[in-house]
Amino acid sequence: MRKTTILLIAFAWAGAGCGDSDSEAVAIEFAAKVGAQDFVCNETYDNLGSDDSSLQLSDFRFYVQDVELRNADGEYVAVTLDSNEWQTSNVALLDFEDGCTDLGNEPMNEMVTGTVPAGVYDGLRFKMGVPFELNHENPATAPSPLNLTPMQWDWQGGYKFLRIDSGTFSMTDWRMHLGSTGCDGDPVAGGTTSCSTPNRVDVELAAFDPAVDTVVADFAALVDGAAIQENQADTPVGCMAGPMDSDCGPLFENLGLPFGGSTAGTQSFFSAE
């Protein structure tokens, strides 16, 4: 992966030489981990949650939007994302599963690439989510990576911003699907106008050097404090972002999202490494 980064940067520099000397290429690396271990599709991980559970994890994907780097003046500037199969407009899909199960695919994506004004950067900000304007467009005509049906959340009228599954996607397997809920629709206009619970996760990594640092999404941190073996009766095993599913409480807290009357906090799922 490192090799690709360097190649991309070199290519972009070469391109920049042709005229636009004010911008430079940037690649922000992401990694999916479970505590100290790398996430590997279908591996089993132990000591998870408040009840030291074991889970065989079979999917780990999320969208990020509005990626920004902090420059030497302390101001965040937008990363203009490259257009490719993993990125469109201002949204990118990070994909750490390798097709180990039926709902996955072999290609993986562990970085966000784009351009920023030339300069020195030392902080990173983004949201885990799909921008509202794209979240409610027709997924049947959406460009990649918004055309992957396992990431579509059609009954909620949007996308799963985060998808982490265990086992074989059955009703008894622990799963977490997060996206906007409480979305409205207008039969006259033909689409969604607002969502009461957007569920986009604000992430700020105050010390982040894009040249050397990696954004780590840690499943163990996501489920910290969650009783994985327990399940509120008559709710999905795990958390499908249901507002009354108490199993979501600790997970939302770790994502810095308000839940059941609690206020928004700071996320601990993502960190710089």
Binding site: N105, A140, T149, Q152, C183, D186, P187, M244
Partner: protein, 384 residues
């Protein structure tokens, strides 16, 4: 079938006359009493597209394991329902809700039992195809496989090309949902005895049905109460549902209400995971709020309510007469009459046996028998 034969002749003539490949214009066959449905700008109706949609609707290749089609749960003879309390998906998973009739679905202000976001048939089609919770057709992550199945069928190559003449590679997810949307929009049902009565045929309804109609639309019952039954407040209009939309409608008429089926905890809760609009909004005031379904063809679509928990029309009327359902024991025990979210229209009423029979006679007169056998809506794979 005759109609489609003549269509093919028309197409051949058109091609012979100069290579025009434009799809044939769709003509709505509706009584004067009914407006045309809203048609999205990006999915105009055409004869070819509707016919393609009919094939796709009944094609089991649209399910992952090729055991179910849309028509499995939406059977024409039952006004496009399946007779089950709750639907069963292609992998055997039980849906928490029953299959809704799709007759006149093109007029629904929102689709399914309780979901504000689903306002277009094209988008709704993605839910049964790709939904994972519950699995219905089980196509998630198998869209390429689906497209390959269809592309390997010479008939579909022709049908898609005819339905989407401006697209080069027209077999894609967008065109599939558009064809399914167009077909479902074409399934209109306004040929009941009540329709004939409303169009001026004074012999269409017998006396019992007429009495039932008067009671339905606000008549005074034998106990002397005007508009005792309040039926039409939720089930009014040409659709017999207030949740109705059409081409000329300017306002959002989505409509959801709580009819007192459950009250698990005195705070209005319904059985978990099946609490109506609340499932998507999370607002406690939305617990138990569902879309009042169209009462057209209601005699064909038993059992009733979102979870099929009432078996007959008689029992439905008993439920409304009481003003809510009382479940005495078990996990769902509680008195729905006291549900805090219950509509203020449901206060219960006195009803005589004759009034009940008249009301049911009227409801049965909302059945469109032609819908059940109309070849334009039938399973093309059965015919072959």
């Amino acid at each position: 079938m005759r109609r489609f034969t003549s269509v093919f002749v028309f197409v051949l003539l058109a091609v012979g006359c100069g290579g025009s490949d434009a799809a044939e214009k769709w003509v709505w066959d509706l009584p004067d009493t009914v407006p045309e449905p809203r048609v999205p700008d990006d999915n105009p109706m055409s004869v070819e597209k509707v016919e393609l949609g009919r094939f796709l609707f009944y094609d089991k290749r649209l399910s992952g394991n090729q055991t179910q089609s849309c028509g499995t749960c939406h059977m024409q003879e039952l006004a496009f329902t399946d007779g089950l309390p709750q639907a069963v998906g292609s992998t055997g998973q039980m849906h928490p809700r029953g299959s809704m009739s799709i007759a006149n679905a093109g007029y629904a202000a929102s689709l399914t039992w309780a979901n504000e976001t689903l306002v277009r048939l094209e988008r709704q089609a993605l839910v049964p195809m790709f939904g994972e919770d519950p699995v219905e057709l089980g196509m998630a992550n198998r869209e390429d496989e689906l497209l390959e199945r269809l592309r390997n069928d010479a008939r579909y190559l022709e049908m898609f090309a005819a339905a989407f003449p401006d697209e080069r590679d027209s077999i894609n997810l967008d065109s599939i949902t558009k064809a399914l949307g167009a077909f479902q929009r074409s399934i209109t049902s306004f040929n009941s005895k009540v329709d004939r009565w409303q169009q001026g045929d004074s012999t269409a309804l017998n006396e019992s049905e007429q009495r039932g109609m008067a009671l339905f639309f606000g008549g005074t019952n034998e106990a002397g109460v005007a508009d005792a039954f309040e039926c039409f407040h939720c089930h009014g209009g040409f659709l017999f549902s207030q949740s109705s939309d059409d081409a000329g409608q300017v306002f959002d008429q989505k409509f959801f209400m709580n009819n007192g089926l459950y009250n698990l905890d005195e705070q209005g809760s319904y059985p978990p995971g099946n609490e109506g609009l609340f499932d998507t909004t999370g607002d406690p005031a939305d617990k138990g709020r569902f879309k009042p379904p169209s009462l057209r063809n209601i005699a064909l679509t038993a059992p009733y309510m979102h979870d099929g928990s009432i078996e007959t029309l008689e029992e439905v009327i008993d439920h409304y007469a009481r003003g809510g359902r009382h479940i005495e024991s078990g996990p769902y025990a509680g008195d729905g009459r006291d549900n805090p979210n219950k509509s203020a229209l449901l206060n219960g009423f006195a009803i005589t046996e004759q009034e009940k029979q008249d009301l049911i006679a009227f409801l049965r007169a909302l059945t469109d028998e032609a819908l059940r056998t109309n070849p334009a809506f039938s399973d093309p794979f059965e015919e072959q």
